[in-house]
């Protein structure tokens, strides 16, 4: 096993991944450049993002050559963030509706935000 002497892999592996990351970054930039909108935009952004993240973690950080015990110990805990994402999404939605009904049109409160910077613009 190569692990005794540390992680040793041919240089072509790194150059390949480097090239792939360049291509994927170009793709995600083009998503913005060509003004894709809606679900197409969001899914493309997410797909390219996850592919880039996967390549960096798996190859550059050598995770695919580590033992499963380390892989799971490192990669599973961050999935807890998905719970926080869903909680905060529900909360953000609720705050938006509260604000719209309290400060929106017809509520009698001026819409203008009170804390505009005076020097800005």
């Amino acid at each position: 096993m190569a692990h005794v002497e540390g992680q040793q892999h041919p240089i072509s592996v790194y150059l390949w991944i480097w090239g792939l990351l360049f291509v994927l970054s170009t793709f995600s930039y083009l998503v913005d450049y060509f003004h894709f909108q809606g679900y197409l935009r969001w899914s493309l952004i997410l797909v390219f993002m996850l592919m880039k993240a996967g390549l960096i973690v798996a190859v550059f950080m050598h995770m695919r050559w580590e033992r499963l015990a380390l892989m799971y110990a490192i990669l599973v805990p961050p999935l807890c963030l998905l719970v926080l994402i869903s909680l905060m999404a529900v909360e953000g939605d609720y705050t938006f509706m509260t604000r719209a009904s309290a400060f929106g049109q017809g509520s009698g409160v001026p819409v203008e935000h009170p804390y505009r910077p005076h020097g800005a613009g």
Partner: protein, 241 residues
């Protein structure tokens, strides 16, 4: 023969793979992470904690962006640059992304040459990585200056729309830029250690009695790739969304 407790990374018996391997590793009554230097495990655990910090920032950004009733400024236009008389959307951020990816590539190769004990190549590649990192921070400083001076973006408001845009932007990119800056400093320190031959002579490092070796290049690399990894998420969620 006395019975020896297995503490180093050399395994006499092949370890089981797959799910059985996980159970065997964790229940071995020894170190749980086999075939990996403990310094690397510690860096990984630090990176997990850092993941939660950046995760909290990005999730709070999601929350304020969802909950604001003001329109969110269009990042594509805010971060556009006029080059050769043409307005190109997001071009500075794209260049910064390519620079950071390139620095990850040179870092990965520095790790490879480090394990081959190729002192000069490791030194040069670490230095190139540090230069890419410094360029990234420089471009970020330019971006901040432009945003503050020309566009009038403040943490408490901006002329383009939702006030939360500024606070999220400065918080997230500021913390990431700080990570890059710290990384550049440690890259230079690691490069100097490599050049002086500290790792070949196994000279103990700063504040430790542990013998120096080329593992520290890989540990440095883990941190640097993580900084690149965080940028992938910031690029997607803040600049492209």
């Amino acid at each position: 023969m006395t019975q020896a407790i297995q503490t180093d990374t050399v395994e006499p018996v092949p370890l089981p793979e797959g799910l059985q391997g996980i159970v065997a590793d964790w229940s071995s009554d020894q170190r749980a992470f086999k075939k990996v230097p403990w310094g690397k495990v510690m860096m990984w655990i630090f990176l997990v904690s850092d993941t939660f910090i950046f995760g909290a920032f990005l999730i709070s950004y999601m929350n304020v962006r969802m909950s604001t009733t003001d329109p969110w400024p269009n990042p594509s236009e805010v971060f556009a640059l006029t080059l050769f008389g043409e307005k190109i959307p997001l071009i500075l951020i794209a260049i910064m992304t390519f620079i950071l990816i390139s620095s990850s590539g040179t870092m990965a190769m520095a790790v490879k040459f480090g394990y081959e004990k190729n002192k000069n190549m490791t030194f040069i590649l670490l230095l190139v990585t540090a230069l890419f990192g410094a360029t990234f921070v420089g471009m970020q400083a330019f971006e901040w200056t432009k945003l503050i001076v020309e566009e009038g973006v403040r943490p408490w408001g901006n002329p383009m729309g939702a006030a939360q845009f500024g606070s999220s932007f400065f918080m997230i990119t500021g913390f990431h830029g700080f990570h890059v800056s710290v990384g550049v400093i440690f890259l230079v320190i690691t490069a100097i250690k490599v050049l002086r031959g500290n790792l070949d002579r196994q000279r103990p490092g700063f504040m430790t009695g542990r013998k120096g070796n080329y593992e520290i290049v890989e540990i440095m690399g883990l941190y640097w790739h993580f900084v690149d990894l965080v940028w992938v998420f910031i690029f997607a969620f803040f600049y492209l969304w």
